[in-house]
Structures are given as C-alpha cells and as structure tokens.
Symmetry: C2
Subunit: 332 residues, 2 copies
C-alpha cells in the first residue's frame, strides 16, 4: 500500500491508499445504475455521481474494513451501498430544498424535473438494499436500514423545526445526527463488521464516524455565517431557509428583546432583507456564538480522533485521525 506523501491532504492520501478498492466501487456503481429499459435512471445518477463528489463515505467503509484486516470482496458492496444511499438522499434533498446547484453544477431537479429526482432516488435506495443483501450479513442490513430511517427522520425533524425559535441544542444534535452522522457512523461500523473485527473495534469505528459526521456538519453550519463563496454554497442560505443551527440557537439563548425581534422576523417569519446577514453575523459575534460553535466542532473532531485509540496501529488509522483534523481545518 503506497501511502503517498505525508504533505498531501488526508482525503487525497486516503484516496490514494484505497485507489484499487475505489476503482472497484466506481465500477460496481456504474454497473448497478444501468437500467436497460429506463435510461433516465443512469442519466440522472451519472450526473450526480460523476460530478466529482469526494466519495468520503465509501472511503470510510473501505478504510474501516482494510484497517481491520479485511481481504474479502464485500467491502466493495458496502461502500457502493453507502454511496447509493448518500446519492438517493442528495436527490431527494434537492427536491425538498428546491436547490438549483449542487457541487457547482445545476441540480437534477433543475435539469430534468422533481419527479425524476424523486423516482431515481427511490430506485437508488432500492438498489442499495439489493447490493447489501448480497453481502449475506443480516447485521449489516440492520445497521444500514436503521441509518436510512434515522436519515429520513432527521430530515423530517429539520423540516418541522425550521423557523421554530424554541428549537433546542438537543434537537439540533438529533437533526445533525440524522442528516449527516448516521450515514458516517454506519459507513465505518459496517466496514468493521464485514471484517469480523472484535466488538470494541466495531464500537470505536462507529463512535469515530458519529463524531466525524457531527464535526463535519457543525463546520458546515458555522461557515454558512462566516465562510467564503469558495465552499460552493451561498453564504446565508440557512438564514434565508429559517434553519435553526447551533450559532443561532446559542445567540438566541442570550438575545435581548431587540435581537429576539430580529431573529423572529428573519429566521422565524422568513422576512430577510438586505443587510440582515451582516447584522446576524454581528449579533453572533457579539455573543461569542461563532466562537463557541467553533469550539464545539473542534471538540467533536477531538472525540473522533480519541475514538481511534481503541483500534490497532495501522497507516489507515493515522489517515482517519488526520481526516478528523482536516474536516475542522477551515475553522481552525
């Protein structure tokens, strides 16, 4: 296993170390999205799958299986399954959020229509289960079907919590676990399970994926109020969409009457005007909400790194450790 140069980004070093496996995963994805009779399916899927996503989730599965010493064929199936589930949720998310851009390209719902996105998402979800059934592991099936239910539940919870200023940090964490961390933790956990790793190692992999996913999502939510256009997402989307993210929840807890009126008009009622993003940033900064959110993301990244201590020494384990630092690098 060539580990590339230590100065490369952790994500690229992982990709390099797992390049043979990733080629097999990509081949399986292409093979399984083929539909002889409904060519719309591979068209829509290829648009998204081949748009140059980072393939972070399937790499987590591959890395987990390999660092636990797996040398069978089924980590490829599981990695493809994880990417299918992720792609299905992206297709449905873009319908739910009425998004126009994803990974710098027009979304499938814009290029085709919402109905294609809904149905092709359903198809990929079904395909993901077909592929995982081939592994023959009921335990893996249980974990990934639980993760799928948690993802959908998290999305519904986010939908119903939107514009509700009473949203708690507990609810926020539940949404984050649903929309992001559930698939991260399932991805690492099933890698360990397919490798037949001992239970403490499986638990460590699950805890790593959970903490990594939470850190990843908090960074995303923080950058929505303080990042640059370079991250491929429009600044202030969450403010406009009325999403109650951690910085806002913390600023609300300390808001005076005037600030509360501001959040109520913008997040609560959706009346966002020119200059409101600047004002939101100023309020968040005044209460230290950006700084405390940043610290929470760093804490989760540290928790992810600590989880890995239970695993045997392995170059891939070190890369996963670096990856946890990398997801918070933009805010460090």
């Amino acid at each position: 296993m060539d580990l590339a140069t230590p100065t490369a980004k952790p994500h690229d070093r992982l990709a390099h170390a797992l390049s043979g496996d990733m080629q097999a995963v990509n081949a399986m994805i292409r093979e399984r999205i083929a539909s002889e009779h409904a060519p719309r399916i591979p068209e829509v899927t290829a648009h998204l799958v081949e748009a140059g996503g980072k393939r972070l989730r399937p790499m987590l599965t591959l890395a987990a299986a390999r660092l636990c010493g797996y040398d069978g064929p089924y980590h490829i199936h599981l990695a493809a399954t994880v990417e299918f589930i992720h792609t299905a949720t992206l297709l449905h998310d873009d319908v739910v959020d009425d998004s126009k851009q994803r990974r710098g390209r027009p979304t499938a719902n814009l290029l085709w229509d919402n109905t294609s996105s809904v149905l092709v998402g359903d198809y990929l979800f079904a395909r993901s289960f077909q592929v995982m059934v081939e592994t023959g592991s009921l335990r893996v099936l249980g974990i990934l079907s639980n993760a799928s239910a948690t993802i959908a539940e998290g999305e519904v919870l986010q939908l119903t919590a939107a514009r509700n200023l009473e949203t708690t940090e507990e609810t926020y964490l539940r949404v984050v676990r649903g929309k992001t961390a559930a698939l991260f933790s399932a991805a690492t956990e099933v890698g360990g399970i397919i490798a037949g790793a001992p239970e403490p190692h499986v638990a460590a992999l699950r805890a790593y994926g959970d903490a990594l996913g939470i850190a990843f999502q908090i960074v995303d939510d923080l950058l929505d109020y303080g990042g640059t256009a370079a991250i491929g997402k429009a600044l202030g989307d969450d403010l406009r969409e009325g999403k109650l993210t951690l910085p806002v929840i913390r600023a609300l807890a300390q808001a005076d009457a005037e600030e509360r009126a501001f959040w109520s008009r913008t997040i609560g009622k959706g009346r966002v005007e020119a200059g409101d993003l600047d004002r939101a940033q100023a309020i968040l900064a005044r209460h230290g909400a950006l700084e405390s959110t940043r610290q929470t993301a760093l804490d989760w990244a540290e928790r992810a790194r600590l989880s890995l201590r239970a695993l045997p020494d392995h170059p891939l384990s070190e890369m996963l450790e670096d990856l946890a630092s990398y997801v918070v690098e933009r805010i460090s």
Copy 2:
C-alpha cells in the same frame, strides 16, 4: 377459521378469515410509524394508512403464508413490510402525479406539502427494510428489494414513456409489472417462502400475484375510459396525463391519419379539449380496443386462477381464486 358466508365479496371473506392476523399487522404498523421526535411522520402516515385502504397486499402475504401451513410470527412482519412499501410508493406517486385526491380524501402533499410526502415516504421505505431484516430471511430481503427496484424502475419508465405514441405493448406490460404486479407477486411469494413451502408452491404463488396484479392494473386502465365516477378516480385522467395505456396503444396500431392526429394532439401534446374524452371513447370502441383490452384482463385473471392449481386444497386458496374473478368483476 371462520370463512364467513360464501355470498360475501372475496375481499371481505379474506379479511374475515385473516382478521386476527390483520389486527396484528395493523398494530405493528401503528407501532413502527411512531416517531418520538418527528410527529409529522405518524401524522402523514396515519392519514394515508387509516384512510380505509383495502389492505389487499398485506392480505395476500398473510393468505399465502397461512395456506402453506405457516404458524410462526413473521408473516405479520412481511405483511407490514409490504404495506409500508405500498404506502411509501403512494406518497411519492402523489407528488409525481401532483394528485389532489386519494381514497376520496385530500392527498398528503396537499394537506402538508410535497417535501413531507417525499421524506415520510423515505422513512416508511427504510422502516420496511428494518422490519423485514427482523425475519432473518435473506431470500425474502432479496425478493422485496428487487421488487422495490422494479417499482421505481416502472415508475421512471412510465414517466419517460408518457406522451410517446410509439410506446409498445411490451413497454406497457413492463410499466404495469413495475407499478403494480411487482409488489403483488413479491407479497404472495414471500408468504410462501416464510412458510417454507416447496419451490413449486412458491413459484405458483409468485405467478398468481404477478397475473393478479396485471389484471388489476389493466382493469384500472380500462375503466379510465369507460368506468363511472364511483371508482374514486376521475374519468379521463390518463388521457389528460398523456399515459399510453393498453386501449390507446391498440387503437393507435389501427389509427387512420385523422385519428392519429387526434391522439397526437391529446396524448402526445397534452392539448385536451372539451369533448375529447367522448371522442377518444368512440375511437377506442370503433377499433374494438376496449373489448380486446377487456379480454386481455380476463385472460390474466384466468392465468392467476390457473396458477393456484399447483397449490394444496385450502379454503384460502379458494378465496384467492375468487379474488382473481373479483378484480375483473367490474368489467365482466
């Protein structure tokens, strides 16, 4: 087992014979749609599940398992699974078709919104896999995940075939198998499998479900051009939505230039005017397309009945035979 009176409708006699099992299925459905943190999920699901659907698909699973002598607990799980998959597809179909009414009530996408329908459908789909994993049967998981993929593929095929006058009977049959027969045949097949029935019996149950589902859908498509408002669906929906169903495909095969222009304007281009439904009916009748479609539906119902001959004698088998006659009764 009380088989009720022989004069009752086959569907009601089945419901009566399986009433204990159906109560257990309903209890499991209620229990599994509960979501402590996202009450929108049980609200939306209950709206649809408790709207008085006929529960035909879960009854097929229960009947198949029972007539093969099953007395374990897992036919309940499988019947609930089948109803979850069916409900998820209804929620997504109503979004795709932009429907306003289902089972005589406003649709969930109208009462809540499209996003709730998409996400709650996803949740039910994930839940269905969780419930079927509990049966511990990988074979059953394979069949139901295949069926789910076939359903989605059939829906995509229907979407892309809409307004295309070149659609063949072969494509029509593929759409029908996807949107309807795939779940019917999976429902009966997994009932036999969970009961440990011998392969010829499993094959007979699968063939019965397939033929029953096809007959059921062809009747539905025929009544769209010749039924009454009593069936709960607006007459002429398929004409307005540009769906190429069997009567139209057969009339198109014999159309003169003027008729072809008519189909091209209505089905092909979606310009449906007052009086067009009457004219469509007249053209269909002139070419015997309604009569030949009717005959095709009767043939599939007969094929369903014949499939049952391979099964052991059982009161439930007789009820399934009567059910095949019943689904074509409205056109007999």
